[in-house]
Every structure is written in structure tokens, then in C-alpha cells.
Symmetry: C2
Subunit: 564 residues, 2 copies
Amino acid sequence: MSGDDTLSLLLALGLLLALGRALGELAFRLKQAPVLGEIVAGILLGPTVFGRVAPGAFETLFPAEGPVAIARDGLAGFVVTLFMLVAGMEVELSTIWRRGRAAFAVSLTGIAIPFALGLAAALFMPRALGCEPGADPVVFTLFFAIALSISALPVIARTLMDLNLYRSDLGMVVIASAVFDDLVGWIVFAIVLGMLEHGGQSVAPTVALVVGYAALMLTAGRWAIDRSLPWIQAHLSWPAGVLGFALVLALFGAAATQWIGVHALFGAFMAGVALGDSKHLRETMRTSIERFVSSGLAPLFFATIGLGVDFYVHFDLGLAALVIVIACAGKVLGCAWGARWAGMSKRESWAVGFGMNARGAMEIILGLVALRAGIIGERLFVALVLMALVTSIMSGPLMQRSLGQRRSRRIHELLRPGAFKSPLLGRTRTDGLLHLAGALAEEHKLPVAEVQRAVLARERVQATGIGNGVAVPHARLAGLKGPVVGVGISPEGLDFDAPDGRPARIVFLILTAPQDDGAQVELLAAIGRLFEDPGVRERAVGLRSFTELQALLKVEAAHAGASR
Amino acid sequence: MSGDDTLSLLLALGLLLALGRALGELAFRLKQAPVLGEIVAGILLGPTVFGRVAPGAFETLFPAEGPVAIARDGLAGFVVTLFMLVAGMEVELSTIWRRGRAAFAVSLTGIAIPFALGLAAALFMPRALGCEPGADPVVFTLFFAIALSISALPVIARTLMDLNLYRSDLGMVVIASAVFDDLVGWIVFAIVLGMLEHGGQSVAPTVALVVGYAALMLTAGRWAIDRSLPWIQAHLSWPAGVLGFALVLALFGAAATQWIGVHALFGAFMAGVALGDSKHLRETMRTSIERFVSSGLAPLFFATIGLGVDFYVHFDLGLAALVIVIACAGKVLGCAWGARWAGMSKRESWAVGFGMNARGAMEIILGLVALRAGIIGERLFVALVLMALVTSIMSGPLMQRSLGQRRSRRIHELLRPGAFKSPLLGRTRTDGLLHLAGALAEEHKLPVAEVQRAVLARERVQATGIGNGVAVPHARLAGLKGPVVGVGISPEGLDFDAPDGRPARIVFLILTAPQDDGAQVELLAAIGRLFEDPGVRERAVGLRSFTELQALLKVEAAHAGASR
């Protein structure tokens, strides 16, 4: 690569990561999985928008061919290999065994029904579905059926992680079924590609090898890794030994399935499953790898997806709508039916169906291979990508909705700059409370006198110093919609009659509605938990601005969540 | 990339990482920086050895051109960009300011003397130094002088990290000087390349831009980053927000200096300096990035260096020896003199000289650019690489030797399988001690009765239960060479009269020589510190094998070391 190529690549990666992260944050605000924002960032930076607005700059930064493109795609491939390792590490085999029956039912109906529906549709209306005039109808039909059957393991995994469902039983059913569906889907796809090349024979070895590899990883591989880890931790340097081992495992696992002829990603995923199952893998190592790969590097991969194709030129509304409808009908109904059959509740069954419906990156990779092999044209490819996006976008919200999930209350989301007082005025508990209650009431347009009265009355019943320099005065107030929180920092400390006798230097004032009993308990417990950590207490008294307070609460809450 | 290319790339990366890590561990055992093992792994896998033994396989796995090579080198470039970010993050500006005078003196003499020596040598004996017949003598002379003057920031940083000297004052002097030398070296190199292309003009803008970029990063950039971090932590998701910010910073920083025309690595490094200086960057984030990049990914880059050239064909002993002698003389003497001049002690001055003498990757990158530009031939290139390796290998041990550094005693290094008893027999303290002391004495061929007597006598003077289920009986024993440690696990617990009244479930028995007073204190303190952590105590009682014990002590010791 020349110097100019290096410059293009660095700028391109920087842009992909920056815009990917920005839109990922936006997606998160809109209660979507960040990964969708990342994919949209790629479409914006791709030929569809950026390439149209500034073709020269686009060609320099994101060329479709040549060294820059190869290096960029190679890097994206490396990143997604690591991402699959992490996704695999998060799979809890014990949960899958426990939920084996449900997973089996879901994966069976989840692949059979969309496949049958796709087969029928492609047989009856090949033209409407974008079959090009010269294409082999059998190959096209089979491909279309497969395209409807597979799921997007990385996107599903990411969506479940984002919704905090990944390690739940439900999440494991979805992941187990998706793994199974994808394995079957990719094997059948390998068969179809084999039919294209040498007319159908020599497919049996591939199937045998894939099943053999998976079985090996789940038995001997798992055992060998579990035996190796203590040795590595004892005899090699830390953490380089374990990290290197994990990465080498991912690369060789990926190479194994690539050699077999199914996609490299499966090998890395199965290697991750075998590695993550070992109880000798330290939690800090797990978090360390997971954090860096899925939060730091993964956006790079997801943002490169949209670079490959022009979504404007090849857009066909009718085709896209048709593909989306058939895809959703087959997958959602098929999986939900399987889940019901396995005895899951109605709510959970729908959630499984919507979860499995996400297609994401896998669909696009499959589509790209088919496009290059001449099985499909660009119109259908764009329709498939849109289908992948739409199903992925629907996935998270519809799952949440089916489960009727309520987001847990986080303190930092309830704070407002106006209700933060540093320093808190007053030399006595009462003066401090009046000041803080007044500020909180004003900020939320509540009756000041009433709030102050309620808070002081509660404080008289029982002092609210909880020790460690923290006090949590609180009161119930009729007419409140949701809980509100104010924070005051008192450099000298106010006597809140804490059990340890120390004056309170940070005061959280919490108001909740009388009927919302859970909120008060939840918030008080969260604050107590947070300030058990001496590091947090030390940081808290040094706070100088509202932003610093928010940062502290948010980061620590994330930590407390991770370690639980 | 085709499927076969992907397979080649995955296997190649897996091999590079696996052999790199293995030889890195070996280097560590030989008290060398792991990075040297990683570079040697690349030479073994490159044309020098693997390419000679199995040319067909070599050409498939590590082609010099084509998509696989581009993707591999692109990935290595990405990794080294992140590595430079981390190296930058570790720089403590306050220490550099504090040691500014020394750093200035060292960098001045450290560049002037090797440059002058290189200039003189190249002027008087160009042929002996491998100047090709057709080459421009002025360009060659300047290049040779620069090649002797630059240091290898990544290798120096890695060596210092490996020796635990990176954050020391000495380490900061070395790093500050190396940064300065490299900046000057690369700028002059850019001038030389400019002379080749357009005969010397248009050099001033480059110089101005580089200095401007560095100044900007150290002032406005640093300030802006410090202001942004709390906002990012408060408003974006954690840890994706900060991680993404750090990576984008590295990529755009690298792009900036690449655009200016000095090497991209400098931009990433300066971005790291600006980022790492912010007190708002959380320690967990710092460790998380550092760990993943420098232990996990960096070996990939360092192992690719040796792939590019055949070290056998182009090896010229006389030339290599000459280059090594001139290079060492100029750099070591120059830097040591500068350090003395700045008032450092003799020991420290030599350590600075040897530290700065490491050339490593930078030399090789510089050499590669010169080779491609036709300034030097392959003979001199190989000599330069060997010089880089030899100076890097010498660097660590000679630094350690000059400083007279003694390695601190780690418990896990003193353990032997024979002195680990689980379960520890006996129902009383005395029985347990007799059992453990006997085993320890036998393992180390010490007089059993004498050891048992000494341990029981010490125990009678004062009970050694330190609470939390841990006891640390100990004794001094004449004739011991170094401290020895035995460990017993008692599932029911033995009464060691601990302050908290709890029976000891894990017993460390420590024997030290009477004259070695420090050892006992050091080991007792380390054990006490380790078992303050409830997680460690919980793990300790569940131990079933010697290997698990070693793993626990080692990993936890590394953690305790990192957090101090």
C-alpha cells in the first residue's frame, strides 16, 4: 500500500467508526440495537448517499476494489471473527441443554416453515421475486428458500445483549435455535453452491465435516480447553497467555470451517462456545475481551456492510415489500409456533419469533455470495438487505413489547442539572433539606412548600443517614408521574444521624408517587449498593459539576450491573 | 478475497500469533522482552526458514503480494496504530515536564552523536557500508546517519513495560527522548525522501506541520479531550462511548500525520498522549484497552515484520558487524553522555543509553521505505534488521544490569508441587504444622526434624493466624539459600488463634535464611495483601490442584501489582 492508500484507509476507518458509533448511540436513544445505527452509517457512507453526493471523495476513501478495499474488508473480516468468538463465549451450554427441547422445536419449525414458504413462493412467482431471466430456476428456488430460513447470529446476539436478555433462558433458546438454523442454512447453501459448480456431488463430506467439527468442539475441544486454561494461567504470562490462546483458537477455528467450506464465522463461534464454557476462564478476562471486541471493534465491521451496494439505483419497492412479508410470516410464525409447541408461554413464544426474525449481517453475506455467483441480481440483493434491516429493526422493540418488559430505573436517568446543588447550603440537616427540596420542586414544577413539608415529616419519623457519608432523604408525593431525584453535595457534611456517626457529604433526595411502591425501594437499594465502594465515595465528594456526577453514577451503575 | 485467500489469511494470522506468543514466552523465560520472540517468530515463518523448507506452503500462507498480503499488512498496520495509541496513553506528561531537562539533554546528544558518527562513516567508507554503485552518495549518507539516529518507540515502550520501568522517572526520560529523536529522525527522513523526489524544496511546510500537530495535541487537543470525556461518559453508552472515542482519535491522529508526510504512527502516538493525560479516563478503561492491544493484538504486528525479507541470502557478516558496532557506539555513548550531562547517576546514565539503543520495528520500517525507494540494497537492509534485533536484545538485560535491579520475590515462583498438601493432615495446629513442615523439608532436601522444630518454636512465641481463614507460620533456618514456601489446605480448618477467631483453611509455611531479613517481611505482607480480597479467599478454599493454586497466586499477584 502506498502512502496515499494508507491515508485513505485510516480516514475511512475513522469515519466508519465515528459515524457508526454516533448513529449507534442514536439508535440506542430510539430504543433500537446500536448495531442498526452502525449498519445505517455504512449505507450513508456507501454509494447510496456519500457516493452520490461526492463521488470523487467517495472513490478515494471507500474504493470498491484495489488495496484499500482489500485491507478494509480483511480488517472487517478479522473483527467479525473476533466478534463471533465473543458471541460464542457468551453462550451458556448448560442453559442450552436445560432448554434443549424448546431450542430443538424452535429451530425445527423455524427453519422448516420459512423454507417451505420460500420454496413455494419462488416456484409460483419466480419473476416477481427477482429471478433473472438466465438463472437456473432450481438453484434460484433453493437459494430463496435458504435466504428466508437463516438468522443473523451476530445481530441476534447483539440485540439480545443490548436488551440484557442474552444470558436469560429465553435468550439461550433463541441463540441455540439460531445456531442450529444457521448451521443447517449454511450447509444447505454450501450444497447449492456445490450444485452450481460440480452438479451436486461431493456434498456429503461437507455435511459430515461440519457436524464433526461442531461435535468435536462440544466434546473433546471443550475438555481440552478446560484442561489447558489453568496450565496457561499458571505457566504463561498474564494476561497475554490467555488472550493469545483465545485469539489463536478463534483464528484456527475459523480456518477449520472455512476449509470445510461453510463460512469461517462458524468456526470462530464454536471455538468461542468451547472456550466460554470453561469455568477456569476468569470473569475479568471474559469482560475484557467482550468489552473491547463488541463495543470497540465490532462497529467497524457492521459499518462496512453498507459500503458494497447502491441502495437507491437497485431499489424496487414491490419486490422489497414482498420479500419482507414472506420472510416475516415464515420466520415469526414458524418460530413462535415451535416455541408454543415446546410449552413456552404465549408472550415468550412471540418474543422468540421476533428475536429469530432478525436477519442482519448473515443475510447480507449470503446475498453477497449469491450475487457474485450470479444466482441473484442486484434488485433482489437490495431487497434482501432491506429485509435484513427491517427485520432487525423490528426485532428488539417487538421482543420487548411481547415480553411487556419495563426498563429498570437508573438513578442517572432521573437527574436534572437544576436539581443538583453543590455546595448544598445550610449548616443543619433541616436547612440542607429545605434547600435541596426547594430546588428539586422548582425543577420539576412541583409545589415547593408541600415537597419541603413531606420531606421533613419523613425525616422526623426516621433519620435517613445510611453511613459512609451518604444520606437518602425521601418522601411520597401524590400526583407524581415517575420518581424524581435531587442531589446535594455538602463539603463540610451535615448530620443525618447515620449509624456510623459520620456526617453526610452527599445527599440524595428521592420523591416517588404513593402508588409506585417499587421505585422507592429500588432506588434506595441502588444508592446503598453504589456507595459501598470506597472508591465511589471518594470520587463523590470531589465532584464539581453535574456532568461529572452523571458520569460517575452511570459508569458505576454499569460496573455494578456487570459484576452482579 | 476468494475463499482460499480467506483460508490462507486465517491460517497465517493464527500461525503468526501462536508462534509469536510461544517465542514471546520463551524470550520472557530468557529474561528478554517478549517482543523479540515475536520478531524472531516472523523470521522463522518468513522466507528465511519456512520459505526455504516448504516454499509451496509458504507461498500459499504468506504471499509477498496479492490480496492476502495486502489484507495481512493492513491488519498489522491497524494493530500497530492501536499499539502506538496505548504507548502514548501510558506516557505521563507531568513526569516528562519534571524530567524535561534530562530528556532534552539525552535526546540532543542521542541524536547528534549517532548522526555525526553515521555521517562520517558513510562519507569515508560508503562501499563497506553497502552503498550500491548507482546510488546518490548524498542521499545514502544522510539516510545512513538517520538510520543510526532514530530509536524504536514501540520496542522501547514494550521493553520498559516488560521491565516494569515504563512509568518510572527513568522510563519517562527514555520515552521522552525517544519521542523527540523519532520526531526529528522522521522529519529529516521526510526531507531526504523529498530530496529524492523533487530535489529538496517544499520541506519547510512538512516541518512546520509536524511541529504544529504535536503542539496542538499537547495543548488544545489535550484540553478538548479532557473536557469531552466526562460528557461522553455521562451521555453515551459505557464502555462503547469512550472506547469508540479512543479508537477514532487514534485513526484520525494517524491520518493527520500520514497526510503531513511523516509516519502515521506518530499521529496515533500523540493522540494517545493527549488522551492518556486526562484524569477523567477511568483506570478500568485504561487497563482494558492496554491489555487487549498490547498483550492480545500487538504480537500480530511484531510477527509480520520478519515476513518481508530473506535473512539468509542477503546476510553479510562483515557489514552487519560494522553497522552494529557503529550504531551501538553512537547511540549508547551519546545518550549516556547526555544523561550524565543532565546530572543523572552513572548507573542510570548507562541504563538510559542501553534503553535508547533499541531500534526494533522503526528501524525496519525506515529500512523498508529506503529499500523500496532504491536508496539502499538488500544487504544493508538485512544488516539494519539484524542491528535492530541485536540492539533490542541487548537493551533489556543491559538496562537491568546497569540498574543492578533485583527481581521482587513472588510467592508463586517459590512454590513446588511437592510442598503443596491438600488436604493437610492433622486435626490440631501442631499436627498440621508437622505435616506441612515435613513435606516442605523433604521437597527441598532440608533436615526434617530441624525444620519442624524451628517452625513449632516460632509458633509458640506467637500464633500466626492472620484472620480470614489464613495462617502464615514461618521460621528462619540457617543454611538456606533463598526463601522456600509450602502450602496446605485444610478443609475443616485448623485453629491458629487468629484475631478474628476463624480457623485457618489455607496455611502458608515460609522458611527464610537468617541473614535475608527482607524476604520474610516481603512474603508475609504479600500474602496478607492477597487475602484481603474476599474473592481470593473463596477461590483459595476451593483449590484442588497445585496448578490451580499457582494460577490463582499468579493472576491475583498480577492484579494486585496492576492496581497499586
